[in-house]
């Protein structure tokens, strides 16, 4: 069992309240996943910059002088903002691989949580309310976000085993269920050059989607093919820079409920998570169909690829 919540804003006047609403939804899902919690939030992008969210179990030591040391290695200015065990580093766009290599040398105990123009991921072991407090999640703002409460089955209860997982720029995925072919698929994806950091099944699901998209698939096509290639139980909620998607396996025993109004699209493992959203009594509320891809985008003039998603 795990809990998933997601909120995609259509009406950006709600953006200042995104963190607040998502946090309440997340805490409501504590019963479904008290081990760990995490949130992916899509906020403001800075022109020419990419955000690298990193984590350390010894932040005092690791984050001291990190921006300067990394900046020196990259030959460019790096900004850093620390949030408890996490820090967001603004690095020049296109320097992600160089930054990853540099970090491995200058701060080997720092782990990369996410990368993207607007994506930040915060996750830790502990009760969702404690995780929300330590990162001040209620104060976060943005256009869309996804949260997860974990009850571990397939890998250890660790920060790196918590969701959301990020395996490609601005992509994130959370999962309720368990994949049974993750070991063989992980070996295959690593051979294909996809970076997979953990022994967790969900990260393989995320990496699979990234790999499909690296090879030209739209998110919609990648989600569609996951129905054939992933063995096991899953309700996935995925985020991209502009979009928000949902897919459930054909058996669909992992619960899911969605609500849509003029202001937002919301996802919850249970209706309980949605009850305090504005206008929920008038929302269209439904259970997503099995083996069906749902996708929403902020992009008003989508490219052909995005349209096909």
């Amino acid at each position: 069992m795990c809990g998933i919540v997601g909120l995609f804003l259509k009406d950006q006047s709600l953006a200042p309240r995104l963190g607040d609403m998502l946090t309440e939804m997340l805490i409501t899902m504590t019963d479904r996943g008290p081990d760990s919690a995490g949130i992916a939030i899509y906020g403001d992008a800075k022109p020419g910059k990419v955000k690298l969210t990193v984590q350390s179990s010894t932040p005092d030591q690791d984050f001291a002088g990190l921006a300067e040391d990394l900046g020196a290695r990259l030959g460019a200015a790096v900004d850093q903002s620390i949030n408890d065990t996490h820090a967001v580093l603004d690095i020049p766009a296109g320097q992600f691989e160089a930054a990853r290599e540099a970090l491995a040398e200058i701060r080997p105990s720092v782990r990369i949580m996410s990368r993207g123009e607007s994506l930040e991921i915060y996750k830790e072991v502990g009760l969702p309310k404690d995780v929300a407090t330590r990162f001040s999640l209620p104060g976060m703002t943005g256009t869309h976000g996804i949260g997860h409460t974990r009850m571990a089955t397939e890998s250890a209860v660790t920060t790196m085993g918590a969701h959301p997982f990020n395996t490609g720029p601005d992509q994130c995925l959370v999962h309720n269920g368990s994949l049974s072919n993750h070991n063989s698929l992980r070996r295959k994806l690593r051979r294909e050059g996809v970076t997979i950091q953990t022994e967790n099944d969900t990260e393989v699901g995320a990496a699979y989607l990234t790999w499909k998209m690296m090879n030209g698939a739209t998110l919609g096509e990648a989600l569609q093919s996951s129905l054939d290639d992933l063995d096991g139980f899953f309700t996935f909620v995925v985020g991209t820079k502009d979009g928000f998607g949902v897919v459930r396996d054909p058996i669909a025993c992992k619960p899911a409920v969605m609500a849509e109004t003029d202001q937002y699209v919301a996802f919850g493992s249970e209706y309980r998570a949605l009850v305090n959203l504005p206008g929920i009594d008038e929302a269209r509320v439904w259970e997503p169909e099995p083996a069906t891809v749902y996708f929403w985008s902020h992009n008003n003039s989508p490219t052909t690829q995005e349209k096909a998603a």
Partner: protein
């Protein structure tokens, strides 16, 4: 009418209070406000009382019901009226997975749609769904009647025993050992009664009946090498 505020007074208090009612109670009409998707609302009732839930519920609403009438003015999560013995459960909105699972008796009415596994392993309950039902519904259903005024999803009635299935719309696919059967006068009469009790104006003649081909009841020696 007694009103119980679930948010203010908690779930355990609600179920203790409702379960304490008996045949002689004069508090026969109850209203539960602020359900907010909570689980296990009005479970294990065993008295001829009427409970109205003002909003949507989570898992297992009205499970194990006997005698009581539970109305939900909203939608319900997984496992509504699970293992119901008698009485009635009426849902104004939709129902999630395994509505009426393993139910032995009583009537479950869903005015919207029911999702997957509706009536799984039903053992005598009557279920009337005004809308559609999802895949694997009536899986291993043993007795009772499942009436669907809309369409049915994949693998309807897989490994069915003696439950009767009536579907007005399309059936995406039939499960193993489930076949269409003739609608005889007694079935039309039965259907007519169920539709009326469920408040549906659908006509019995519009439905098709499905049941067990009874080919899985006994071991077939020709299949020995499959084991």
């Amino acid at each position: 009418m007694q009103t119980y505020d679930l948010e203010a007074n908690g779930l355990r208090g609600l179920n203790e209070t409702l379960q304490a009612q008996n045949a002689e109670t004069n508090q026969t009409s109850w209203e539960v406000v602020n359900p907010k998707g909570s689980h296990a609302i009005a479970v294990g009732l065993d008295a001829p009382i009427e409970v109205t839930v003002k909003g949507s519920t989570g898992y297992y609403c009205a499970g194990m019901n006997q005698q009581a009438t539970v109305k939900v003015e909203g939608s319900v999560g997984p496992g509504v009226a699970e293992n119901m013995m008698s009485g009635q459960v009426i849902v104004d909105g939709d129902a999630s997975q395994y509505a009426g699972a393993t139910g032995h008796g009583g009537l479950l009415v869903i005015k919207g749609n029911a999702s997957s596994r509706c009536g799984i392993s039903m053992k005598g309950i009557d279920i009337v769904v005004h809308g559609n039902i999802g895949h694997m519904s009536a899986f291993m259903a043993q007795a009772g009647n499942l009436v669907v005024c809309g369409d049915a999803g994949d693998a309807l009635g897989d490994s069915l025993y003696e439950a009767r299935l009536f579907v007005r719309g399309s059936v995406k696919s039939l499960g193993a050992d489930c076949i269409e059967k003739d609608m005889r006068p007694e079935h039309l009469a039965l259907l007519s009664d169920l539709l009326e009790r469920a408040g549906s104006d659908a006509k019995p003649e519009e439905f098709k009946r499905y049941g067990s081909a009874r080919q899985l009841y006994n071991f077939d020696v020709d299949n020995a090498q499959a084991y």
